[in-house]
Amino acid sequence: MTAAARELTGLLTDPARAGEVADWTALVSAARAESLAGTLAWRLAGVPLPREVERLMEDARRASETVRVEALWEAEMARRALAPLGVPVVLLKGTAYAAAGLPAAEGRSIGDLDILVPARSLPEVERALLAAGWEWVKEDAYDDLYYRRWMHELPPLIHRARDRMIDVHHTILPLTARPKPDAEAMIADSAALGNGLRALAPADMVVHASAHLIADGDLAGGLRNLWDIDRLLRHFAGADAGFWAELQARAGHHRLWRAVHRAARLANDLYATPIPESWRIWDSADPLFRARMLARDGWGRQTARGLRFGFYVRSHLLRMPPLMLARHLLAKARR
């Protein structure tokens, strides 16, 4: 854990503490490295700041507004390409938050466009995107086969004119992972947005964000993803007292309760997210997750090398059984 990362989470939680910041340069470097610079800038809007800091925050707010507009435009491009198919297209992650106008979108960095479509529609979705100017990024035959056989998404596509990437998901976790989320139910219960696209139902949105953070990947960029979860939980639970029970039931249905529960505890710990008293249990692994998320110093460097490597190994074990992992690494090493 480093002071800069802890100061960043503290300030995102309580912007009124801006007066206590001693080293703004270090704080901004940590925020940029964690893709939280825009978020920080929006949280600090209206808070009295030193003049030069205020100007930097204005720059970051302007930049994040452009990011938002571009992300929504990319979603519209995908909508136009896929509309003739008549299949439901569900936006995921940052673009979904922006399209739905959720507080999680405020200042958020958005890179790729992530969409979820029914598994049976994949071939026609792929054809339509290729016809509309998207191209394969990975030409390698092993990678292509690996994606198609084992992953929860098509190999990444990039648009040749706009240079933007699209990830087409048919479920939310790799097929090799142990939990098997019910992607059909997620699509069936998704809600129409005003723009002809769809977003996951609130509980599924939290389940997906938690699965992405805890049950997949090595927690790189974890502070941003956990911030999403904090914003979603505050927003949905604030509007509906029955949300917690619904979330727990839905997470159980997708076999992802452990991930959701852990994400909620971590959000409560790092961002003071209000969660039900009964959810606040002690778990021996939580301190490791916490330390991993805070492994960023005031120069924007990653710290805790051993811990990060541990989570990297874990991310591979989560994705596949050991024998398959060995074969996979062998194939990668050979080329």
Binding site: T25, V28, S29, R32, A33, E52, L56, T66, G300
Partner: protein
């Protein structure tokens, strides 16, 4: 990081950290007389070991910072100064959002600015530095910073990077204004030159642009001037800008305003003296 140097150039403050003292000592000498930022720095640059074991064993320097290019090649420690300079350029190119950034040299005379832009190798860096020693005030050789609201240039007088034979043109300047000779860099032999006192003293003034030139160097080329219309100018400058796309509407507004109000020409030259004469002629006729 172990070693730190803070530097303010025009409106931009940098924090440069390094695993080694040597590159920062060279930076301090090169930027002697520049202000030290007091508050927050806009950008952080890290001149650090490419891999942990590269700190002592055949030390190699990675160019990192708030903004990084994933495939930036490391440099040997002897070129650490160049790594720091490239790191500052990278932060500007990828992270600067307050100004429209044009890849251009800039000099001032009579309270107005001349911009020199074009492909690398065209001579904009050498020409702007030369003009800066001959009656013009040097504003910068790498990036011109155009205010989004007011359309005025902010001086950004970083050290000039003189490539290969270009350093010979400045042989009469005092040795203390030069950085070390960096040989075998990806761009050949490089020597940095500190801008003169007038350039440093005036780095906080704003200057309205008055003329844009696209120089093109060729030893066999006859001297020639060709006017560049507003539409062509716009297209060329979108390519010369590193953040035009990222600035969206505000970038478009600032650039169209510049192209509508400032005349431009392309000049071919075969020798430095020829170029300087052309510049004088076009400046007088602007």
């Amino acid at each position: 990081m172990k070693h730190v140097f803070r530097l303010k150039v025009g409106p931009v403050a940098f924090r440069i950290g390094s695993d080694w003292e040597a590159p920062l000592a060279q930076l301090r000498r090169l930027y002697a007389g520049y202000p030290t930022p007091e508050g927050i720095c806009d950008f952080t640059v890290r001149v650090e070991a490419d891999k942990p074991w590269r700190r002592r064993l055949r030390p190699s320097v990675a160019i990192r910072g708030d903004y990084v290019l994933p495939d930036a090649a490391p440099l040997p420690l002897a070129q650490g100064l160049l790594a720091a300079e490239m790191g500052m350029n990278l932060q500007m190119a990828l992270g600067q959002r307050r100004y429209l950034l044009l890849h251009a040299g800039a000099v001032e005379r009579d309270g107005q600015a001349l911009l020199l832009t074009g492909e690398s190798g065209a001579g904009k860096s050498t020409l702007s530095a030369l003009l800066g020693e001959r009656g013009w005030r040097f504003l910068g050789d790498e990036f011109a910073l155009l205010g989004l609201g007011d359309g005025e240039l902010r001086p950004f007088p970083r050290a000039v990077s003189l490539k290969n034979a270009a350093a010979d043109l400045f042989a009469d300047l005092p040795e203390e204004r030069f950085g070390p000779v960096l040989s075998g860099t990806p761009k050949g032999t490089i020597r940095h030159l500190r801008p003169n006192d007038a350039a440093i003293a005036g780095m906080h003034d704003r200057v309205p642009p008055a003329l844009i030139l696209f120089p093109r160097f060729g030893p066999e080329r006859p001297a020639a001037v060709r006017p560049v219309g507003a539409a062509e100018l716009f297209m060329r400058l979108t390519q010369a800008s590193t953040n035009y796309v990222a600035l969206a509407r505000t970038g478009f507004d600032a650039l169209t305003r510049l192209c509508r109000s400032v005349p431009a020409a392309a000049i071919d030259y075969g020798s430095t003296e020829e170029a300087l004469a052309l510049v004088d002629r076009l400046w007088a006729a602007r």
